[in-house]
C-alpha cells in the first residue's frame, strides 16, 4: 500500500486565506470604469397578455438604457435543455416576477424609482398554482397537457403481487418548495464590444452553461463569448441555471448602452424571482408479506416545475431513480411526471429530486413497519439491497455494501435502542415528548445514465517554468472545496507538494469544459480526469527524456523548464471516457443509472414541546459510506452543512405562496436555522473505495440532503404517536393534527 502524501489529509483550503482576510473577490466587490447598474421590470401577475406598457413622464427616460425582447439579436430564450423559457417576456407572461424589461443607469438609486414609474397593463388569464390544479387540466399553460416530462420504470411483474400480499400499504407524502438561500445574492457584470464580443463575470456554478446560452441569445460564435467565475458565496444548485438569465440581461444592457453593466439582486428579488427546490407529491402502494418483506409496489412521483421546463426533466429523472430507496424491489412500477404551474420555474437544489422521493420512501418504510407490526429498524433490515441484487432500474449492486452492518453501526453511535426505550417510558409524564427516527438512503454520483457521456468533459493541466502546475477546469469553487480537492489529486499524482499546484480561475477563454459543477461529480468524475491529465504531464516529461522517476520537486521544475524551452508549452488534456461495464438504456430507462452510489444511515433525535408544538433536533448522527475521504475536514464540513439544510427543509423553511408569488421573500420571514438551532451533528465515514472515482472517492455533496427530513419526521412521529407525511412540518401543523382530539377550550 503506497503511503499517500496529500490524499486523505486536510490540506489548507486553496483560497482560504483570502476568505478569512476579506480579500476574496465576489462579483459585487468588482467595478469597472464607466459601469452602469441594471435592474429588471417584472410581471406582477401570474399569467396573462401584456396589453400596454407606459413610461411615466416624471422620469427622464433618455438617461436610461432600456431593453425589451425586441432588442435580442438571436433567439429569445435561455438555452438549456428545451428552449421554452424566454429571456424577456414578449407579449405574454406565465409567472409572477417574470422579466419583461431591463433598465440601466449610472446611479443605482434611480433604478427603483424608474421601475415604479413604469406601469404595465395585463389582460390576465386564469392561473394554476398546485400539482392538483395542473393535473386537472382545466387550464393548459404549457404544451398540450401541462406535462413537461414523464418517466416509467418497470421491473418484474407488479400486477401479480397484490393477490399474494398479506398487507397492502398506501401512503401519500409531500414536500414543499425550498429556497437555496446562499448568503451571497446573484450578480453579474457584462461588457459588450462589437469586435471582441461579450465578457461576463459573475457568481455562478457553470460557466459553460452561460456560454452556450449567450451564444444562442446573441447569435455569436464560441470565441466571441467569454464567461469568468468570480468567488461565489454559496450556490447549492441555485446558481446552476439562473445565472444564464442574469448574464443575458446584463449583456443585453451592455450591448444597448455600450457600457459595462452590473446587475446585483437584493435579497427579496433573489428569493422571489429565482429558482427553488421543486415541490413534490409521492404516492406509494406497496405489497408486503407478513414477515415484512416488500413483494412489490407502485410509486407515483410528481414534481411541480413552475412555468417553464428548465431543469425539471433532469430533476424528475434523479427523483424517479431514487424513489425506491436502498431496498430490494423484486417488482416495481414507478410513474413520474413534472408538471407546469404559474410560479417562477423551480430548479436545482442539492439533491435534485432525490430528497423529495427519498423523503417519501423513508416515511413509507416507517408506515409499513406500523402496519406490519415490526420496528422501523427491523423493516429496513429485511428489505435492504444486498450485493448481487438489482436496483429498481435493474442495476446490479456490485460492491460489497452491507447495509445491515451500516445500520447497526449507526444505531450504536446514536444509542438508538437505549434512547428509544428511555423516551417511550418518559414521554407519558413529560411535557416534552422525545423520539428517534431513522433514514436509510443512497445517492448516485455523477450525471444520470448517459449524461456524463454527453457532457464529454475535458480537463487540462499545464506545467509552468517555475515547476508549478496549473489545473485548467471549468469546475467552480463555491465553498465545497473544488479548488482544494482537485489540486490535492494533481499533487498526489505528480508527487509534488500541494503548494506547487494551482488552479486557474474558471474563464471560458482559458479553460476547457469539464462539465457543470453539479450532481456531486466534481471530486469523482472531474477528479478522475485530473488524475489522467496529471499522469499525462508526467508521461510527457518522462517520454521526452526530461524527467526520471523518482524525482524531487526541483527536478520536476528543471524538467518543465527544459520541456517548455524546447516545445513552447507543456499541456496535457484528458477527456471523459465512459467506464466499461456501465451501461444505461436511455430508451427503456433501465440499467446502470450511476457509476457509483454512496450509502447512508442517519439517525435524528427530536424533542417536541407539547405546550408549543415546537420541534427541536437534539442530536443527529450522520453515517455514510463514501468510497474514499479525500479531505477529512472538507468532507465533514459538507455533511454538517447538508444536514443543517436538511433540518431547515424539515422544520423551518416554508415558502408562503400567494398566487404564485413567494410572500415571505425576506430573511426575517423565511426561516433558516441559526447557530442556536443546530444540534451536535456527529459525522462518521466508511470507505469502500470506488473504481470509477479519483482515489476511490464517490460524490458526497448532495448525499447529506436526502436523510435529515425523513429521519426527523420519523422521530416526530415516534415522539407524538401521530403520523405526519409532509415537510416542512411546522408547529402549527402539529398543533392542527393534535388539536383534532382537543375540545374547543384546548383540553383533551
Amino acid at each position: 500500500m503506497i503511503e499517500e502524501n496529500v490524499i486523505g489529509k486536510s490540506v489548507p483550503r486553496k483560497e482560504g486565506r483570502d476568505k478569512v482576510t476579506g480579500a476574496a473577490r465576489y462579483i459585487d466587490d468588482m467595478t469597472l470604469p464607466g459601469m452602469l447598474y441594471g435592474a429588471t421590470v417584472r410581471s406582477q401577475v401570474p399569467r396573462g397578455a401584456i396589453k400596454k406598457i407606459s413610461f411615466d413622464s416624471t422620469i427622464d427616460w433618455s438617461e436610461f438604457a432600456i431593453v425589451s425582447a425586441r432588442d435580442i439579436p438571436g433567439k429569445n430564450c435561455i438555452a438549456l435543455i428545451g428552449d421554452d423559457q424566454p429571456c424577456l417576456a414578449d407579449g405574454r407572461v406565465n409567472h409572477p416576477e417574470e422579466a419583461i424589461l431591463l433598465l440601466a443607469h449610472a446611479n443605482p438609486h434611480l433604478l427603483r424609482k424608474a421601475i415604479a414609474a413604469i406601469s404595465i397593463e395585463y389582460e390576465t388569464l386564469p392561473a394554476i398554482f398546485t400539482i392538483e390544479e395542473s393535473e386537472q387540466q382545466s387550464q393548459i399553460i404549457w404544451g398540450t397537457d401541462n406535462i413537461f416530462k414523464t418517466f416509467l420504470i418497470a421491473k418484474g411483474d407488479v400486477d401479480s403481487v397484490w393477490a399474494e400480499a398479506d398487507y397492502i400499504v398506501e401512503g401519500e407524502y409531500s414536500t414543499g418548495a425550498q429556497e437555496q438561500l446562499y448568503i451571497e445574492n446573484n450578480g453579474m457584470i457584462a461588457v459588450f464590444d462589437g469586435e471582441t464580443g461579450i465578457t461576463v463575470w459573475g457568481s455562478l456554478q457553470c460557466p459553460y452553461y452561460i456560454h452556450k446560452a449567450l451564444m444562442a441569445l446573441f447569435s455569436l460564435p464560441e470565441d466571441k463569448v467569454r464567461i469568468v467565475q468570480m468567488e461565489t458565496g454559496g450556490a447549492f444548485g441555485g446558481k446552476e441555471d439562473y445565472p444564464s438569465m442574469i448574464a443575458a440581461h446584463a449583456a443585453l444592457l451592455a450591448m444597448k448602452s455600450l457600457r459595462p453593466v452590473k446587475i446585483i439582486y437584493d435579497r427579496t428579488e433573489d428569493m422571489t424571482a429565482t429558482t427553488k427546490r421543486h415541490p413534490s407529491r409521492t404516492r406509494h402502494r406497496t405489497a408486503v408479506s407478513k414477515d415484512g418483506k416488500i413483494l412489490g409496489g407502485e410509486i407515483e412521483f410528481t414534481i411541480d416545475g413552475g412555468a417553464y421546463a428548465t431543469l425539471s426533466s433532469v430533476v424528475l429523472s434523479r427523483g424517479t431513480i431514487h424513489a425506491g430507496g436502498p431496498y430490494n424491489w423484486p417488482n416495481i412500477r414507478i410513474r413520474s411526471k413534472a408538471v407546469a404551474t404559474n410560479a417562477p420555474p423551480h430548479g436545482a437544489f442539492r439533491g435534485f429530486g432525490a430528497p423529495q422521493s427519498l423523503f417519501a420512501m423513508e416515511r413509507h418504510m416507517d408506515r409499513i413497519a406500523q402496519v406490519v407490526g415490526l420496528s422501523p429498524v427491523e423493516i429496513r433490515r429485511r428489505n435492504f439491497l444486498k450485493t448481487g441484487q438489482t436496483t429498481t432500474t435493474e442495476q446490479m449492486v456490485q460492491e460489497n455494501i452491507d447495509l445491515e452492518k451500516l445500520l447497526d453501526r449507526a444505531l450504536k453511535l446514536s444509542d438508538y435502542a437505549n434512547k428509544k426505550a428511555h423516551f417511550d417510558r418518559e414521554n407519558e409524564e413529560s411535557q416534552i415528548k422525545r423520539g428517534v427516527g431513522i433514514a436509510a438512503f443512497l445517492h448516485g454520483a455523477g450525471f444520470t445514465g448517459s449524461g456524463e457521456r454527453y457532457l464529454a468533459s475535458v480537463v487540462g493541466i499545464e506545467g509552468c517554468t517555475d515547476g508549478t502546475v496549473r489545473l485548467l477546469v471549468s469546475s467552480t469553487e463555491f465553498g465545497q472545496g473544488t479548488n482544494t480537492v482537485l489540486c490535492q489529486i494533481a499533487a498526489e499524482v505528480l508527487d509534488l507538494p500541494y503548494g506547487n499546484v494551482e488552479i486557474a480561475q474558471p474563464d471560458t477563454s482559458q479553460v476547457p469544459n469539464s462539465g457543470p459543477t453539479v450532481a456531486s461529480r466534481t471530486a469523482m468524475v472531474v477528479g478522475n480526469l485530473v488524475q489522467s491529465a496529471a499522469l499525462g504531464i508526467k508521461q510527457t516529461l518522462i517520454a521526452g527524456g526530461d524527467l526520471r522517476t523518482p524525482y524531487s520537486a526541483e527536478e520536476f521544475r528543471a524538467a518543465c523548464r527544459n520541456y517548455i524551452a524546447k516545445h513552447g508549452d507543456l499541456r496535457s488534456f484528458a477527456r471523459y471516457d465512459p467506464p466499461p461495464g456501465v451501461f444505461w438504456d436511455d430508451e427503456n430507462y433501465r440499467g446502470a443509472a450511476y457509476a457509483a452510489y454512496a450509502w447512508a444511515i442517519y439517525v435524528a433525535e427530536v424533542a417536541v414541546d407539547s405546550l408549543t408544538y415546537s420541534v427541536t433536533v437534539e442530536d443527529f448522527v450522520a453515517l455514510q459510506e463514501v468510497g474514499r475521504v479525500l479531505h477529512p475536514l472538507l468532507a465533514k464540513g459538507q455533511i454538517a452543512g447538508g444536514v443543517a439544510q436538511g433540518i431547515g427543509f424539515a422544520l423551518y423553511e416554508k415558502v408562503v405562496w400567494q398566487n404564485g408569488r413567494m410572500e415571505n421573500g425576506q430573511m426575517t420571514n423565511y426561516i433558516m436555522p441559526t447557530s442556536a438551532d443546530i444540534p451536535p451533528i456527529r459525522v462518521y465515514f466508511e470507505e469502500m473505495g470506488n473504481v470509477h472515482g479519483a482515489y476511490g472517492a464517490k460524490g458526497i455533496g448532495e448525499l447529506p440532503m436526502d436523510g435529515p427530513a425523513p429521519a426527523i419526521v420519523n422521530a416526530v412521529v415516534d415522539a407524538t404517536g401521530t403520523n405526519f407525511d409532509f415537510v416542512p412540518l411546522m408547529p402549527e401543523n402539529i398543533f392542527a393534527e393534535v388539536s383534532k382530539t382537543l375540545s374547543p377550550d384546548g383540553e383533551r
Partner: protein, 166 residues
C-alpha cells in the same frame, strides 16, 4: 458628534477611524455605513447578504461592539472607531481567529466569514473561554448556509484556547 451644519440637505463631512486609520469622507448622512465602507473607502471585505440586519454578513465592530453596518446611517458613525475584517491581520500574520477558521474549516464559501469572525472577536473580548452555549448565542445573529455551524464552533473554541495559551 457634529451637526450637519445649518443646511438640512446635501452631503456632510464625516471623520472616523477605520482599522486604526483616520479617514474623512463626504457622504449623504443617510448613506448606509456598509456602502460607505464598500464604495467610498473600497473596503469590500464587509458583505451585504440581506440588507435588513438579519444575516450578519455586514457586521463590523463599532467602538468595540458588534453592529450590522447595513442598518447604520453614516452620520451615526461620526468619530467612531471601526474595525472591519481587513483590520484583523497584522501584515502577513493572521489573527488567532482567522488562523483557527482556516484550520478548523470555519470558512467554506466565505461570504459570511468576515461578519462571523468579527462576531467571534466580540465574544472572545468578553469571554476568554466561552462554553458551547456562549458561542452559539454569540453567533446566532450570523447566518451561515454552508457549514452547519459545527466547524465554526470548533474554530472559535480553538482560537480561545490559543489566545489563552499566549
Amino acid at each position: 458628534m457634529k451637526t450637519n451644519s445649518s443646511e438640512h440637505r446635501g452631503q456632510c463631512n464625516l471623520s472616523f477611524t477605520v482599522n486604526g486609520r483616520t479617514v474623512e469622507v463626504r457622504v449623504f448622512p443617510m448613506e448606509r455605513l456598509l456602502d460607505v465602507l464598500r464604495h467610498t473607502l473600497g473596503l469590500t471585505g464587509t458583505k451585504e447578504g440581506c440588507g435588513e440586519g438579519e444575516c450578519g454578513s455586514c457586521a463590523i465592530l463599532m467602538n468595540g461592539e458588534l453592529v450590522n453596518s447595513c442598518l447604520i446611517p453614516a452620520l451615526q458613525a461620526a468619530d467612531a472607531n471601526l474595525t472591519t475584517i481587513e483590520g484583523l491581520a497584522v501584515g502577513p500574520q493572521l489573527s488567532a481567529l482567522q488562523q483557527a477558521f482556516l484550520e478548523c474549516g470555519g470558512a467554506q464559501c466565505g461570504i459570511c466569514t468576515p461578519g462571523m469572525i468579527l462576531a467571534s472577536q466580540q465574544l472572545l473580548s468578553k469571554h476568554s473561554s466561552p462554553g458551547m452555549e456562549d458561542i452559539r448565542e454569540a453567533l446566532a445573529g450570523n447566518l451561515c448556509r454552508c457549514t452547519g455551524y459545527i466547524q465554526i464552533f470548533e474554530a472559535v473554541a480553538q482560537a480561545a484556547r490559543v489566545k489563552a495559551d499566549v
